[in-house]
């Protein structure tokens, strides 16, 4: 069974909602769409107060290189444009729309029919991804079209599709593989054309045998796409780990996947690419798992972006004794400081933790057991990072390669002394990153 070479942990899978079919969440009365929904620079609003908008109409345009367009998920009237708090509590510019009916832009194909034949050329596909505001739905929200604008002299040998879904609890990718199989595969075909790569590999963890069987059956008509079962181990879906597991290649220190001849996309992104390329439908929906051990009413929802989170929480009912609500999975997700917020691209899970699960265990002294070193999939030394970060020794942190940390949380999850390793490493990493940046500014 293929897997990455070093480190990794085995958290309980807790895929509690994998037998629940995807439901479409009803439209809200008023929606709030954040102007920036991708990594990189903020997009610039192109609508004004009082404008009538249709579903799929451009709301904010990407002007920088790393930035993604934002489209209206609703038809209605722009009520106002003002800063609104996101789940961290910090305010970001947002467009508030009063929803009226559900009128779609004419250029979008709203039929259910699956279109398998791809008519667009390589450049047209990349332009379409850019126009439709497609971002990586694995969590980082990196604009997808940027990955396909290959640097000169570089070519891709593989498109790697991350269907590992190694985060516990989350089940949207699994449901998508079962329910939207053909759409995802056509999306991958489009990505093959966009990259010029001859082969695509789909990596799935072997704790999802039904998805593996289902996709192996479906790929019989897609000779360029191969399904590769992977060992169940976290973080199997992390970019560099997935490349190593599927191709045996290693991305050089400080370089990009394309330097190893690979482009990695999430399975949910391939579905969005299908809709953009074949149906001209922008990214206006997110697939979200609503789950938790003590939540009775677990769901897999298809939700329009900008829907108030509160409506979803009301629909499932916040269970008693809830200690924490997390956006994302338990390993890399973030606890929400504000639930009075709205859905954004890449919000793939709402996870409820009860009071006992969400409480931190007080830390004790480091035992020097080396479990964090064993667990680190990047071969780093988290205990050392912690000591250096506490004393603000940024030069040493840089020398020991803190910028290679992928913030997967393996070190912290297995620490017998309950030391907040990831927290200290993140602090050290962001301070070191700022130092490197200021040094580069000084040089130029």
């Amino acid at each position: 069974m293929k897997t990455f070479k070093i480190g990794g942990v085995h958290p309980e899978a807790q895929k509690l909602s994998n037998e629940i079919s995807v439901e479409t969440f009803p439209l809200p009365k008023q929606a709030t769409i954040f102007v920036t929904q991708s990594l990189g620079a903020p997009a610039v609003p192109v609508v004004a107060k009082g404008d009538k908008v249709k579903v799929g109409q451009l709301l904010a345009k990407a002007e920088a290189f790393i930035c993604a367009n934002v489209h209206s998920p609703f038809s209605g009237t722009v009520n106002k444009i003002e800063p609104v708090a996101d789940f961290t509590g910090y305010k970001k510019p947002a467009i508030i729309i009063d929803v009226e009916g559900d009128e779609w832009d004419e250029s979008i194909d709203t039929s259910e029919e699956i279109v398998s034949e791809i008519k667009l050329s390589r450049k047209e596909i990349i332009d379409r991804m850019k126009a439709c505001g497609i971002v990586g739905l694995g969590g980082a929200c990196f604009p997808t079209h940027v990955k396909y604008m290959l640097p000169e002299g570089k070519s891709a040998d593989y498109i790697l599709v991350n269907a590992a879904e190694c985060e516990p609890y989350i089940t949207t990718d699994y449901r998508m593989m079962l329910e939207q199989t053909e759409q995802c595969l056509v999306g991958i075909e489009a990505l093959l054309i966009a990259s010029g790569a001859p082969k695509a590999l789909i990596g799935i963890e072997n704790n999802k045998p039904e998805a593996i069987r289902h996709l192996q059956e479906a790929t019989k008509t897609h000779p360029k796409i191969e399904v590769v079962p992977l060992k169940t181990k976290y973080p199997q879906g992390a970019e560099k780990q997935l490349i190593q597991a599927l191709t045996g290649r290693t991305v050089p220190n400080g370089r990009l996947p394309i330097d190893a001849g690979c482009i990695v996309n999430n399975i949910a992104t391939t579905h969005a690419v299908y809709e953009a390329v074949q149906k001209n439908k922008p990214l206006i929906e997110t697939y979200t798992t609503v789950t938790g051990k003590h939540l009775a009413n677990r769901k897999n929802y298809k939700i329009r972006l900008g829907t108030p989170l509160k409506e979803v929480l009301d629909a499932v009912g916040i269970p008693e004794n809830t200690g924490k609500i997390i956006s994302g999975g338990p390993m890399m997700g973030k606890a929400m400081a504000n639930t009075n917020t709205f859905f954004v691209k890449g919000m793939s899970s709402i996870l409820f933790l009860d009071a006992s699960e969400s409480k931190r265990i007080p830390e004790s002294n480091c035992l020097r057991c080396g479990k964090c070193i064993q667990a680190c999939p990047m071969g780093l030394e988290p205990y050392l990072f912690r000591m250096l970060a506490v004393h603000n020794r940024l030069d040493d942190l840089e020398a020991h390669g803190i910028m290679n940390c992928i913030e997967c949380g393996c070190c912290q999850s297995g620490c017998p002394a309950h030391i907040p390793l990831l927290d200290t490493v993140k602090t050290g990493k962001s301070k070191t990153g700022a130092m490197i940046k200021s040094r580069q500014v000084k040089k130029s």
């Binding site: 708090a85 910090y90 400081a337 504000n338 931190r360 927290d423 602090t427």
Partner: protein
């Protein structure tokens, strides 16, 4: 026989030691670093806390800079204050310029009572980290996070977190105005102001949101109404981005603004 071995060992060790000593003597002569003896004299006058308030990594850095520059322009030990600078000036044969001593003030009054917590923070006690995660327990994105990065950065034990309000408190007698806390506060809440003899008047709020928004999270927030600016006889107050600021160089400590502030966001502190 045994006695001979011991003597032999002592002799060999002694000879090696002697040869090494002679060698080191000549090496240290040949590679001697010429250093101005004034640097040691100046460094001896400095407090030795290495707080970084002067802008150098440590006290010796400042001493070297003073001796190298030959004057005291822009070079000052805020921790040592005027007396230290006079001593240094004497050594250097210069004239010391007396400067107004500074003290740190905390420009947030978002105590547990004024700004009640909406969520609980249960992570690493670091303001820097908390600032990267969320807006704060009271949801004020400008307010104090209360994890005590400032307390940890103070070399003079002049700061502590009040257990009731969960806000940092400056011990005016211990604070030397080095500014280490100012640099370490991710929200830039701490400011250095003239220590003065009678006290300080300052706005205890950094919230730049519009009045009603700021007031929602904290009852002691500055709402930017401008009443203080209108009534200030010394014209020391300006309002920008819905936030008042009192210029301590102009303020006469008349306290008209303190009693007139509708939210109580202006504080007179005479500690």
């Amino acid at each position: 026989m045994a006695g001979n071995t011991i003597i032999l060992a002592v002799v060999i060790l002694g000879v090696i030691g002697l040869v090494a000593a002679i060698l080191l003597f000549f090496i240290s002569k040949a590679f001697k670093v010429e250093e101005n003896p004034l640097i040691d004299d100046v460094a001896a006058q400095l407090p030795g806390a290495n707080c970084g308030g002067c802008g150098f990594a440590g006290c010796r850095g400042l001493a070297e800079a003073i001796v190298k520059a030959g004057n005291l322009e822009g070079l000052r030990c805020p921790a040592g204050g005027n007396s230290t600078m006079e001593n240094i000036a004497k050594i250097m044969g210069l004239e010391a310029v007396a400067a107004e001593p500074m003290v740190a003030v905390v420009r947030c009054n978002g105590s547990c009572e004024n700004a009640p917590a909406k969520v609980n923070y249960d992570s690493m006690p670091s303001c820097f980290f908390a600032n990267s995660l969320y807006a704060g327990e009271s949801a004020c994105p400008y307010g104090c996070l209360g994890c005590g990065d400032c307390v940890g950065s103070c070399q003079f034990n002049a700061l502590h977190i009040d257990p009731v309000t969960k806000l940092p408190v400056v011990d005016v007698n211990a604070c030397v105005g080095c500014g280490a806390c100012v640099k370490n506060c991710p929200r830039h809440i701490i400011e250095l102001r003239f220590k003065g003899t009678e006290g300080r008047v300052y706005v205890t709020c950094m919230n730049k949101e519009k009045g009603p928004v700021a007031k929602k999270n904290c009852s002691a927030a500055c709402i930017g109404c401008g009443k203080c600016a209108k009534n200030c006889p010394a014209e020391a107050i300006t309002v920008q981005d819905s936030l008042a600021y009192i210029d301590f160089r102009k303020c006469t400590l008349c306290q008209t603004c303190v009693s007139g502030c509708p939210t109580g966001a202006i504080k007179f502190s005479n500690l």
